[in-house]
């Protein structure tokens, strides 16, 4: 549709596990992003992160990309998984660990 959708599409397709977040894994700038990182770390996941605060086009575009109004957003195997609340629910049910184990194939390797 637009260039930003193309950019985001390339990012989610090009990385097995990618989190769009505010800040960086070491310095999250929002409690929800911080929680999302903590969950991924706890799962021992290999992931990429995109700091939307450094890219206003992605910050706005990511909300339309998956019709999801908030950040963070997790994508695994090219598909939208959810925000931090869904990540926590899935983690508590053991589903996130399973998804990461099944689909987290890094195309670069």
């Amino acid at each position: 549709m637009s260039d930003v959708n193309q950019r985001i599409g390339d990012i989610v397709q090009g990385n097995g596990v990618v989190l769009f977040m505010k800040g960086t894994p070491l310095f999250p700038q929002c409690g929800f992003s911080s929680k999302a990182i903590a969950i991924l770390e706890h799962c021992g996941a290999q992931y990429e992160s995109v700091d939307v605060l450094q890219d206003m086009e992605i910050r706005q575009g990511i909300k339309g990309f998956s019709d999801w109004p908030t950040i963070p957003q997790l994508y695994v195997g090219g598909e939208f998984v959810g925000g931090s609340d869904i990540m926590m629910e899935m983690y508590e049910a053991g589903e996130l660990q399973q998804l990461l184990a099944e689909k987290a194939v890094d195309p670069a390797t």
Binding site: G31, F32, K63, D67, W68, P69, T70, I71, F80, V81, G82, G83, D85, I86, E89, M90
Partner: protein, 77 residues
């Protein structure tokens, strides 16, 4: 921008009349909430779809006026 819990509940109930809505004000500042929504409308939907239904009920306030709403959803037992 604070938004009263009653308004959040009313918006959700307007879209999902049979829902049970439980809202907690996490920080006591009228700006950080946790909502648990149980509704039969969620039956058979993915978590993402369930959450989207609630976000739609909130009419675009999520991510703007409403920054901090932790959301959990469930179908009735």
């Amino acid at each position: 921008m604070p938004m009263p819990a009653a308004q959040i509940e009313a918006l959700i109930l307007a879209a999902l009349p049979d829902a049970q809505v439980e809202i907690r004000d996490l920080a006591g500042d009228g700006d950080h909430y946790a909502a648990h929504v149980v509704a039969s409308a969620f039956t058979g939907m993915s978590r993402v779809a369930q959450h989207k239904l609630v976000y739609t009920a909130l009419g675009g306030r999520m991510g703007g006026e409403l920054h901090a709403l932790q959301l959990t959803t469930a179908v009735p037992n």
